[in-house]
Assembly symmetry: C2
């Protein structure tokens, strides 16, 4: 397996984005976020996504120069039109703005309509936590999953993110509504492997852990069956009503690539406006210590808090370099003009 | 099966609560909420819960007379001490207050520390929606579920609720973090039945759909495996930090019954401060029509939006009476002083 340093990956992606028409500074930020996703082990939304992102830029499905513009301000709630600008930049702006509002009032909410794919949702949770804020955010998407009881796609996979700042490692939950991503199905199929637990339905309508069968029916399973399905629907509708934007049903009709014209919600809370640092530290330590001191399910098993495994992968990939698929890496180098 | 009218059920529960030392008006409200839960088909938190609630009142684990008191106000964010008062009354107060704040600012957040079991979480979602507001709320609880990777209980089952008002039936999601409740395991076991999908682990550590095996190990399954586990942890920590209250780890130590000293968060949004009624109606109809027109997974199958089945059950139980277990009903009548 080939490994690339974070710095080389970032610089290469940056050059690819500049070649696709992005301003240097914006390309640099987007490249950093893509490289950070790969560094943290979220390979599906890092380097592996660059070629498709460049394609969207070239098709003008993402407007490289667009900036968010204020639609409505209601105190510590602000609504912006993302103007189909780069989803990463819009989302970073929105979470940053939410933390600014929270720094003043304890609480801030920023929503975006008409934005584009934000790539790894966890990015904005980590962003809030790094600044010392609790962050909650979610996005809607085009439909890519059947609602519970259906066999044709009708709902989005709407990721939901919650983050809490902590000195010895932030707590970050980054979860999509499907049990597994299509990326996970593909990787598992290519290894000729089975999923750890059933991830969708086969042609007969039975649950299966064979990834190829699910890819064929496109009946991926919502996490928790009816629960993830209902959660996806509510996240969709609330993001649209909080931003005056489009739901999954209408995003489908636009057809501007993955998540084109989607809506997002960003909530930030300043925990120090409510508690002392000592109370916060103690609260988090008691919880984490209770979880980690549970009896492990398997001998020598370990119990992780949400975000802990990202930190482990981050440290590993920083030290050894980030693993890349050689074909993907060559393609991105080509887009960057490095031959 | 025996069926009781809503009115008779409410009056009987009310008398039981008055006998347990509650003021008449408060007893009436709590009785209505319990009866509504049974009426909507949430039997576990309706009539079936009355005996235990009376027990808590008698043990002073719930202070029948306590009222919430303001700890901190930060604009449209308010934090209250629930003073161990009746969880239903505290939660109704908090969601109502959140909608008042939202009516002024578009958005309102109210949190409670030191409160008690709110019974059916969906109650407060329906409450917000009935007033025309989007409602989001959650609670933490004592630990009753192993974290992912553990076999001993360490995390709460922290229900999460989202509601959106809609003319032809509100969208209401009311989900606990476990795939099934202990109530569902019990009912299924008593019917000598199996769960529709695996709901926990047996003694060997394998997933099983046999409810009795899960009741023995107490290894109920978080919805979506690691996802529900992580979600429960973040809901717990955020509710404590947003209210200056206790997390699951500390609630466990208090040991004042189910959810004694728990924390809750209530968020309300006024969608009409952001959108026209026409836009809201259209947005919801497009989404629901997309979901309901999906291809059903089984012949003659129907796809429901979240909340729809509660409405169906409500209509049925209003017409026919609410089904009750005769032993439970006799016990509540006894507590009410009706022989």
């Amino acid at each position: 397996m080939m490994r690339i340093s974070f710095e080389e990956m970032q610089a290469t992606i940056r050059a690819a984005f500049v070649n696709a028409g992005m301003q240097e500074e914006k390309a640099g930020i987007c490249a950093r976020i893509h490289a950070e996703s790969s560094r943290d082990g979220v390979y599906s939304h890092g380097l592996n996504r660059v070629e498709r992102y460049v394609d969207y830029l070239c098709k003008n499905w993402v407007d490289a120069d667009a900036e968010p513009s204020l639609d409505l301000k209601l105190g510590n709630l602000e609504i912006y039109n993302g103007n189909m600008g780069p989803g990463i930049l819009n989302a970073m702006f929105a979470m940053d703005r939410a933390t600014e509002l929270a720094a003043r009032s304890g609480f801030g909410v920023v929503s975006l309509n008409n934005t584009t794919h934000w790539m790894r949702g966890g990015t904005y949770g980590w962003q809030a936590a790094e600044k010392g804020f609790i962050g909650i955010c979610w996005t809607n998407t085009e439909s890519c999953m059947p609602a519970w009881g259906a066999k044709s796609e009708g709902i989005g996979n709407n990721p939901f993110v919650m983050a809490v700042p902590r000195k010895d490692g932030h707590l970050v939950l980054d979860m999509a509504m499907s049990q597994y991503s299509y990326g996970k199905l593909q990787v598992t199929r290519m290894k000729n492997d089975r999923l750890p637990y059933p991830g969708g339905f086969d042609h007969v309508g039975n649950l299966t852990d064979i990834p190829g069968s699910i890819e064929e029916t496109r009946r991926i399973l919502p996490m928790g069956y009816w629960k993830g399905s209902g959660f996806a629907i509510l996240l969709d509708v609330i993001s649209a009503l909080l931003s005056g934007g489009l739901t999954t049903a209408e995003i489908d009709k636009k057809g501007k690539g993955s998540c084109g014209s989607c809506c997002q919600v960003f909530i930030a809370v300043d925990p120090l406006k409510i508690n002392t640092q000592e109370f916060i530290d103690l609260t988090l330590e008691k919880t984490i210590s209770q979880i980690k001191s549970s009896k492990p399910a398997s001998e020598k098993g370990e119990i992780f808090y949400p975000g802990e495994q990202s930190l482990k992968k981050r440290a590993e990939n920083r030290q050894l370099g980030i693993p890349v698929d050689e074909t993907v890496w060559e393609k991105v180098k080509e887009l960057a003009g490095i031959v």
